[in-house]
């Protein structure tokens, strides 16, 4: 039985000037269920709050309506006050008669009448309210980081350094990601490996980081604080505990294939280590290129090994042809996706001759050509014939900002690395000629613009504003057809090497699907809010960082990695999670299992729940809301035809009663 108190605030003159507050309080007194109503100058003041608290205690109020200002302002104040007086905070409602009444309606009669209706509506809402309490879920204090590039490394280290366990899963045999491939980094030109390797080593040695390479997250179930990850590790056929990375096996191995770490510009053996500084520092036998083609497909039964040279030469007997894929399951509290990017490939690059002419390379390939540890030892040699390149043309916005051939977005880093490429090239080939085709120069980072200016002015890199139409080969030399939009002239430039600043695209799109979090149209992870929640996803407990979220450079990636780590830590720092109680609830008796709610819920908070009889027989399947994941938006309730779904604190019953009160002043 409701016993509601209504407290009408004058807000000094702010409300009282145009609203007859006494009349509103009197009107309140006439509403059935209202047992106390009064007005006061400043309800939010200490005496005002005491008035509310005393009335709750003395009159046994079961609901409170404060007719005052906007709930955005003082709802927390009064909910706190009523809680102190022993009343559930969700049984306190604000009737906003200031911002939405006295301040906007100068006519006293109209203002007063409307204020009474607003108050009556709040009374009806409280009268049909129920005490709500936050639900709690436990938190597993372990994070899963997917992707071992610089983003994943930084996140993993931050979380581990803060004292929580981390499972770092990397698809490749080594962590390091694309950053390990880079030669030097803009704008400081420090060596990429030199700054990354220490972090990689720190990861490998960290007592709280479990590094799982050659592995992919296959399935994630559960919810915030309580995920369960199923990780599949491919066999490396080399026992990490025995391998000393001596390299004898690779020397002996007869099978050579292009080295993907060098973007295919060099060769490696079937048994190999991706690069000298790889972490873990262990050789891996690549089953796809090994002569023993049955390694993976055979089911441990009858198998003939065609070649055992690596095993023969391995003094530690680390080679194990019988190694099988391994399923690793881990309980996880928070997940950070750092799956990174790859360079755009395919049809969109055809006009530029990429794939047709070996001397048309993309920027990551060029990084390897520039790298001292790369296939050419840092010399800029043409892939076609290994001769030094003297004329190099750099093309920006290849596939980026180009919805027709590629993607509408800007890849953000190309302007800077192209300047770096041109500059490094000029450092290596002093009399070389570097031409850059660009549309705009976007150099909005610390020291970035200066860096580009340096390339243009000090290194005399020729910047041509215009798009490149195509690249062909004439008489064995590449010709770049473009236009100088500043002069309006068509332009042809001969080149020994053409470097394409191709668009950055998401490296993996299946991870988002496995995590059941949305991506944008291009496969980049969708953040929960573009401004306010940039490293969270709509699914509580799943965070994103690095280029998986969108193209970004190393400083931004590292900053975001730490941001994601801090959001994950916020979660892991709690033993139990408190969730807002104003969330969806299903009347399972009414649910007809059309599961539109499941389709609609942006948070994956609605699940199909099997109702079973005592004997285990499946009776029916109904929707059920996971309180740990529901944010209370109500999109499900707005769709539910049988009205099985309702939002606590904003129930259909409350809304109907409020509408009635707003229109008639009465209860429904």
């Amino acid at each position: 039985m409701p016993r509601i108190g209504v407290f009408v605030c004058h807000c000094g003159e702010n409300i009282a000037r145009t609203v007859d507050v006494r009349k509103v309080a009197e009107d309140a007194g006439r509403i059935p269920g209202v047992v106390f109503s009064t007005d006061y100058t400043y309800m939010c003041s200490a005496p005002g709050q005491k008035l509310v608290m005393d009335a709750i205690r003395e009159r046994g109020l079961t609901g409170v309506v404060v007719s005052a200002c906007s709930p955005q302002l003082h709802e927390p104040t009064f909910r706190n006050a009523v809680q102190q007086a022993g009343l559930n905070p969700f049984l306190c409602e604000m009737a906003n008669i200031r911002e939405q009444c006295s301040w906007v309606h100068p006519n006293r009669a109209e203002g007063t009448a409307k204020a009474s209706l607003i108050m009556a509506s709040a009374v009806q809402k409280v009268a049909r309210g129920r005490a709500l309490s936050a639900s709690e879920v436990p938190v597993t204090k372990r994070a899963l980081v997917i992707g071992g590039g610089v983003a994943g490394i930084r996140t993993a280290l931050d979380i581990a350094n803060a004292g929580h366990e981390v499972v770092l899963v990397e698809k490749q045999p080594s962590i390091g990601g694309n950053m390990a491939r880079l030669s030097e980094t803009f704008p400081t030109l420090d060596c990429s490996q030199c700054i990354l390797t220490p972090l990689m080593v720190e990861v490998s040695r960290h007592p709280r980081i479990e590094l799982i390479t050659c592995a992919e997250v296959e399935e994630v179930s559960g919810y915030v604080g309580n995920f369960r990850a199923r990780i599949r590790r491919r066999p490396s056929f080399v026992r990490a505990d025995l391998c000393t990375a001596c390299g004898d096996c690779a020397t002996a191995c007869p099978a050579s294939v292009p080295n993907e770490f060098d973007q295919g510009l060099a060769w490696r053996k079937a048994i190999h280590i991706p690069f000298p500084q790889a972490v873990p520092s262990t050789y891996t036998l690549d089953a796809a290129s090994c002569l023993n083609t049955q390694l993976v497909s055979s089911k441990s039964g009858y198998r003939v090994l065609a070649c055992e040279r690596c095993a023969d030469v391995c003094s530690r007997k680390a080679i194990d042809y019988d190694m099988r894929p391994e399923i690793i399951e881990r309980e996880i509290g928070a997940i950070v996706a750092a799956t990174g990017y790859r360079m755009m490939s395919g049809e969109g690059l055809a006009d530029y001759g990429y794939g047709r002419y070996p001397d048309v390379v993309d920027s990551l390939e060029f990084e390897r050509l520039l790298s001292a540890s790369g296939p050419t030892g840092g010399e800029v040699l043409r892939p076609s014939d290994g001769k030094p390149a003297r004329d190099v043309v750099f093309v920006q916005c290849v596939g980026s900002r180009d919805p027709v051939h590629g993607y509408p977005y800007c890849s953000r880093v190309c302007c800077m690395y192209t300047a770096k490429h041109a500059l490094l090239f000029k450092h290596k080939v002093h009399d070389g000629r570097a031409t850059v085709f660009y549309i705009d120069i976007r150099a909005a980072g610390k020291g970035y613009e200066e860096f580009v200016q340096r390339a243009m002015e000090e290194e005399r890199v020729l910047y041509v504003r215009g798009r490149v139409a195509r690249v062909t080969q004439v008489d064995g030399r590449l010709v770049v057809y473009g236009a100088d939009t500043l002069s309006g002239q068509p332009l042809q430039v001969r080149a020994d090497l053409v470097v394409l600043a191709s668009a950055m695209v998401p490296a993996q799109t299946n991870v988002a699907a496995r995590l059941r979090v949305p991506t944008d149209a291009f496969g980049f992870f969708q953040e929960a809010h573009p401004k306010l929640r940039p490293v969270e996803t709509l699914t509580a407990g799943i965070f994103i960082t690095g280029a998986a979220h969108g193209p970004k450079d190393i400083p931004d990636t590292v900053a975001q990695a730490s941001a994601a780590a801090s959001k994950a830590l916020e979660l892991l720092s709690k033993t139990r999670l408190q969730r807002e109680p104003t969330i969806a609830r299903v009347d399972e008796a009414v649910c007809m299992a059309c599961f539109e709610c499941v389709r609609i819920c942006p948070y994956q908070a609605v699940e199909k729940h099997e109702v079973r009889a005592r004997d285990g027989r499946l009776l029916r399947v109904v929707a059920r809301v996971n309180p740990a994941m529901c944010e209370g938006c109500g999109a499900c309730a707005g769709a539910c035809r049988s009205s099985a779904m309702d939002i606590q604190g904003y129930t259909d019953t409350q809304i109907f009663a409020q509408l009635t009160a707003l229109m008639t002043g009465a209860a429904s």
Binding site: M1, P2, R3, P32, G33, V35, A127, A667, S668
Partner: protein, 295 residues
């Protein structure tokens, strides 16, 4: 046909020019003078007429239509005996629109009441006999009126056993009153909860009502069994009674079919050719055996 046949014609004359009619479904206004929770979901109300008219009269077992204006009507048996008839009491569980609205009302608020309707417990025919009251859950509410009647006319009846059961201790109705019942000489009160429903300090019985009843070892001879409870409980209780050879004529219960009018008009409470609201709600088990299974 009476007076002058006016221009309006004979039909009008036949009807007369009487004023507005009053519906038999129009309730009397009653004020809530007391309200309390029996269990977490069973609530009791004590009502008194708003007007100064004659007191409300009824017989044990009869029911009324209680209404909240704006929500509608619900049927409850009068929960108190007319021998304590200065008030009308009812007990109910909040299950639908009306009962939820009723539950939300405060002392002092006014509701509608009409009745009494239906037949009553044949208390006169029980004179001199031993009685067993068996109430399950909310069903106990329907037994309170005849029980109070019997207690108020203690001398007229023999030994009395009250078996009051519920799913759990918290769900047991009339826990506050049971000690007083037990104090009346010759009244034996047995409380029981379903297995799993007991609390650590529970000193009553544990077991389903029919089983506990069997354990009591009461012999049928001339003993009247008065019972009310959920359909499934009655089903098993009747099996027990059959096993113990209680004559069906000596077993009395009430049927709780859904009703709207209480007058045998609205058509929904019938069990075969009988209307529970008029021919019931009190039936002997013997009578029920002649009825189609429509309850």
């Amino acid at each position: 046909m009476s007076s002058a046949e006016t221009a309006a014609g004979p039909a009008r004359a036949a009807a007369g020019t009487a004023g507005p009619l009053e519906s038999p479904l129009k309730p009397r206004l009653m004020r809530i003078v007391e309200a309390w929770d029996e269990t977490p979901d069973v609530r009791s109300l004590r009502l008194q007429p708003v007007d100064d008219g004659p007191p409300v009269r009824w017989l044990p077992g009869q029911f009324g239509e209680f209404s909240v204006f704006g929500a509608g009507e619900a049927v409850f048996t009068m929960a108190n005996s007319p021998s304590r008839g200065e008030f009308v009491e009812c007990g109910f569980r909040a299950l639908g629109k009306v009962t939820w609205a009723l539950r939300d009302l405060a002392v002092g608020q006014v509701i509608g009441y009409r009745g009494p309707y239906g037949n009553s417990f044949p208390v006169d025919s029980w004179r001199g006999k031993d009685l067993v009251f068996i109430g399950g859950g909310i069903g106990t509410v329907a037994l309170r009126a005849p029980l109070q009647w019997v207690l108020d006319h203690r001398g007229d009846f023999g030994e009395i056993v009250v078996l009051n059961g519920a799913r759990s201790v918290a769900d047991l109705c009339y826990q506050k009153e049971m000690p007083a019942w037990a104090e009346v000489p010759g009244v034996h009160v047995v409380r029981t909860v379903d297995p799993g429903g007991e609390t650590p300090g529970w000193d009553g019985e544990v077991g389903l009502l029919p089983a506990v009843f069997e354990r009591l070892g009461l012999a049928p001879g001339g003993r009247i069994v008065v019972t009310c409870g959920p359909p499934v409980m009655l089903h098993y209780l009747f099996q027990s009674l059959e096993k113990l050879k209680f004559p069906p004529e000596d077993v009395v219960t009430t049927l709780e079919n859904k009703m709207k009018c209480g007058l045998g008009l609205c058509g929904r409470c019938n069990v075969g050719r009988l209307f529970v609201c008029v021919d019931g709600p009190v039936f002997t088990w013997a009578r029920m055996q002649t009825l189609p299974r429509d309850y």
